[in-house]
Symmetry: C2
């Protein structure tokens, strides 16, 4: 009888010109690079193509004063990657913004909205 | 010499099943209905088709315990619309969530991110 609970989704995006310098997907990709130790491994873990992951990393690296992702200097194209010191620091600040935004779920505005929200949409009327 | 300043965008969406019960565009549509007094006027003011505006209103009205938008009972299909008491109240709570999220721009995390963000992306490297 239960359905998916009402949900509050807060998406934080940081723009650099027309490019998304950081957002939910890019932050998750950085986490995956930390976990997997390479762009190719991170792409696999996230179910995206290597090309797409590389393009996301390239976009991030062009938006910030320092690259967020460093590839290991051993000559092989997909051999390994890690976050730079700047990448570690900026990802932490972005996650802190997300955590602060998530605290809105504890407030009275979301409580009032949630109370009035149906568990699922009514059907279209004839 | 100046370019667009770095920007923090925070999008708040409230989901009801797979439907967006409230989000930035729907809240702006509600404001336009208040200002214009009709769905058709709001659609014109926002540069969207009447059909699209009507579908957004219909989706909202099916997601909440009470309809947010009432059409005037004078028989004409596009004759007039206004927010219900519930619509006025819930829109205010949503705007309060947005305002609280916008205050993240005053915090040290966004300050640190903004400091490291380039004004525009670097060009792709050869």
């Amino acid at each position: 009888m239960s359905s998916a609970p009402p949900r509050l989704k807060i998406a934080i995006r940081i723009l650099c010109g027309d490019e998304i310098a950081m957002g939910p997907g890019k932050a998750d990709l950085l986490d995956a690079i930390v976990a997997q130790g390479s762009i190719s491994g991170a792409a696999r873990a996230m179910g995206m193509s290597y090309r797409r992951a590389w393009l996301l990393v390239d976009a991030m690296n062009r938006c910030w004063a320092e690259p967020l992702v460093e590839t290991m200097p051993n000559g092989a194209a997909r051999s390994g990657a890690r976050l730079s010191a700047a990448g570690i620091r900026l990802l932490a600040h972005y996650r802190a913004l997300q955590a602060a935004a998530a605290r809105l779920e504890q407030g009275e505005d979301w409580a009032a909205l949630q109370e009035a929200l149906l568990p699922a949409p009514l059907a279209h009327q004839a």
